[in-house]
């Protein structure tokens, strides 16, 4: 657990996604904790660019050697970009979950609130309590 990263420039959802908002673009990925729990990822599939989502809607699906899991958007908006490189190199999610392993970018409408999401400290203690 100690080796896992919990960067403080993103917010976290209980379902283990992270989100980083820059301007009106929210980048979404899965946490280091999540990739570690899933083990080696072998497949990533996205909802199409242009799909409008509410917070909690599925935006991607990842499959690891252990399980197939849905990835939910922590925010509402429209998918404007997906990390298509992961379709051939899903292992990037394991090696760099907060960087090159991002999953989708969502254009958020208006002033997006991240109040319902955890900060790094809260998420870390949430993970440690599981």
């Amino acid at each position: 657990m100690a080796a896992l990263k919990f960067p403080s420039d993103v917010r976290y959802a209980q379902s283990d996604e992270w989100v980083r908002v820059e301007g009106d673009i929210a980048t979404v990925g899965i946490s280091d904790y999540a990739q570690d729990a899933l083990n080696d990822l072998v497949y990533v599939e996205f909802k199409g660019v242009g799909t409008k989502v509410d917070a909690g809607d599925e935006v991607a699906e990842v499959e690891s050697v252990k399980a197939a899991s849905s990835i939910y958007s922590p925010v509402a908006g429209e998918i404007v970009e997906v990390n298509a490189a992961l379709e051939t190199t899903p292992e990037t999610v394991n090696s760099d979950p907060y960087g090159a392993g991002w999953l989708v970018r969502i254009r958020v409408a208006g002033g997006v609130s991240l109040e319902h999401l955890m900060d790094a400290a809260a998420y870390q203690s949430y993970c440690e309590s599981r």
């Binding site: 497949y43 599939e45 199409g48 197939a68 849905s70």
Partner: protein, 444 residues
């Protein structure tokens, strides 16, 4: 049956005690006593000998293919199956259609599935094939599911009227409740006319090869148009014909489906049959069923594993969109053994025999007054005969001579009234064909 160990009386008492009742009868308390053993109006009990005799009498009331000169196909075909197929199929090690729950424990079953998949890929010219579907019709229905998922937010499926009418019915039944429209098969259309129906909302175009009338249409332009519009192309095929024809993979097909029955599965009064399903690797994550793969174990020996079950309920739980992890494994095994026994050359010889005998019969029938044969397109082992009187009347006369005549096309295709779809396979001797022709001659 070495593993059969019944419960002991002590164990039964322990189980009853655990749920708080004293006797097994207590479990049926909710059923009123008067309804537990109602008097049934049944005939007197019979001995085993009497039952066998009765069942035999019922079975004898059926006519079966072997008793007739059979000239009907239309989706179910009379072919020769080497007896080794059945002998191997009935071995205890194989004799189940069920998926092993610890699949890797059953290396023999997995190897057979892997070989079946590989042969279907070779035959269709595709990159991946699954371990089978229930039949040809449901495999086409599943192709629709794949296309709707592969091509986002499109809702039109173009179906050729040359696809088996029952397959098109099953496709519609299977997809009811979905936002999808099926077009194209409400009237006769050439491949070029079908292509005109492909729009920006079209997810898939499906054609049959050879088509229901036995004919080999040129779909090259249609495939081009479909791909240019971003739609998938599905070929429904007779696998035996593929031993002779250019494989659909080489014609640009994205999905190839069909009925495996012509490859070693008996007619059996309609089933069980086996559907096959092959795709380009690009779509492999969208398919139903399972794919077995070949790998090596830690000592470097060949080993087989359950590689992919992308939509099945045992993997995807509540998100599953398929549950055919238990499918036609036994019939797929029959196909596998049949193909392995015939080999590439043997299968081609069977296909050539079908082609040549069908063409001999077609030429002879075409020469009869009162009959004509549609030779406008190349055909495989089926062809359409235009008759001068109703097909039912001709078939009645034929059956009196021990001949099962062609399929009455007027039932499914009103514009093809008085036309019969005839099928000739390697099972039809030249003598049978000559008798058929002489009987038809008298009917003209």
């Amino acid at each position: 049956m070495s593993g059969y160990i019944p419960h002991t009386e002590v164990e039964r008492q322990q189980m009853l005690a655990a749920i708080g009742v004293t006797t097994i009868e207590d479990l049926f308390e909710a059923v009123p006593a008067s309804h537990r053993f109602p008097r049934l109006n049944l005939p007197r009990p019979m001995s085993e000998m009497e039952i066998v005799a009765e069942m035999q009498a019922l079975a004898d009331a059926n006519e079966h293919a072997g008793e007739f000169a059979l000239f009907r196909g239309a989706g179910a075909y009379h072919h020769f199956t080497p007896s080794a197929v059945n002998h191997l199929l009935l071995r205890g090690e194989f004799y189940t259609a069920y998926t092993p729950y610890q699949p890797e424990m059953s290396q023999g079953t997995l190897q057979a599935i892997f070989e079946y998949q590989s042969m279907m890929c070779a035959l269709t010219g595709m990159e991946a094939a699954n371990a089978s579907h229930y039949d040809g019709a449901t495999s086409l229905a599943e192709a629709v599911t794949v296309a709707l998922q592969a091509v986002d937010r499109r809702h039109r499926i173009v179906l050729s009227g040359g696809i088996h009418p029952q397959y098109r019915e099953v496709v519609r039944t299977y997809n009811q409740g979905r936002t999808v429209e099926f077009v194209g098969d409400n009237q006769p259309r050439t491949a070029a006319e079908l292509a005109e129906l492909i729009d920006d909302n079209t997810a898939m175009v499906a054609v049959q090869y050879p088509n229901f009338f036995g004919q080999i249409e040129d779909f090259s332009k249609l495939v081009e148009v479909a791909h240019a519009k971003g739609a998938l192309v599905t070929f429904v095929v007779n696998p035996l014909a593929l031993a002779l024809l250019k494989p659909p993979g080489a014609l640009g097909a994205d999905i190839v489906v069909g009925e495996g029955q012509p490859l070693g599965v008996p007619l059996s009064f309609g089933g069980p049959y086996v559907g096959f399903f092959a795709v380009r690797t690009r779509y492999v994550r969208k398919i139903a069923g399972r794919i077995v793969g070949e790998t090596v174990d830690r000592d470097g020996r060949p080993a087989y594993v359950m590689t992919l079950r992308p939509r099945e309920q045992d993997i995807k739980r509540e998100k599953a969109s398929s549950n055919i992890c238990t499918n036609q494994g036994l019939m797929a095994l029959a196909v596998c053994i049949h193909l392995a026994l015939l080999g590439k050359t043997g299968l081609r010889q069977v296909a050539e025999l079908n082609y040549q005998k069908a063409h001999y019969a077609a030429r002879r029938i075409a020469a009869l007054p009162g009959f004509s044969v549609d030779m406008s397109l190349p055909f495989f082992n089926e062809f359409v005969v235009k008759c001068s009187k109703p097909v039912a009347a001709i078939n009645d006369a034929l059956i009196a001579e021990g001949i099962i005549g062609g399929y009455d096309l007027g039932k499914d295709y009103p514009h093809l009234k008085d036309r019969m779809l005839m099928c000739v396979t390697e099972m039809n001797t030249r003598e049978e064909i000559d008798v058929l022709v002489s009987v038809l001659e008298k009917l003209a």
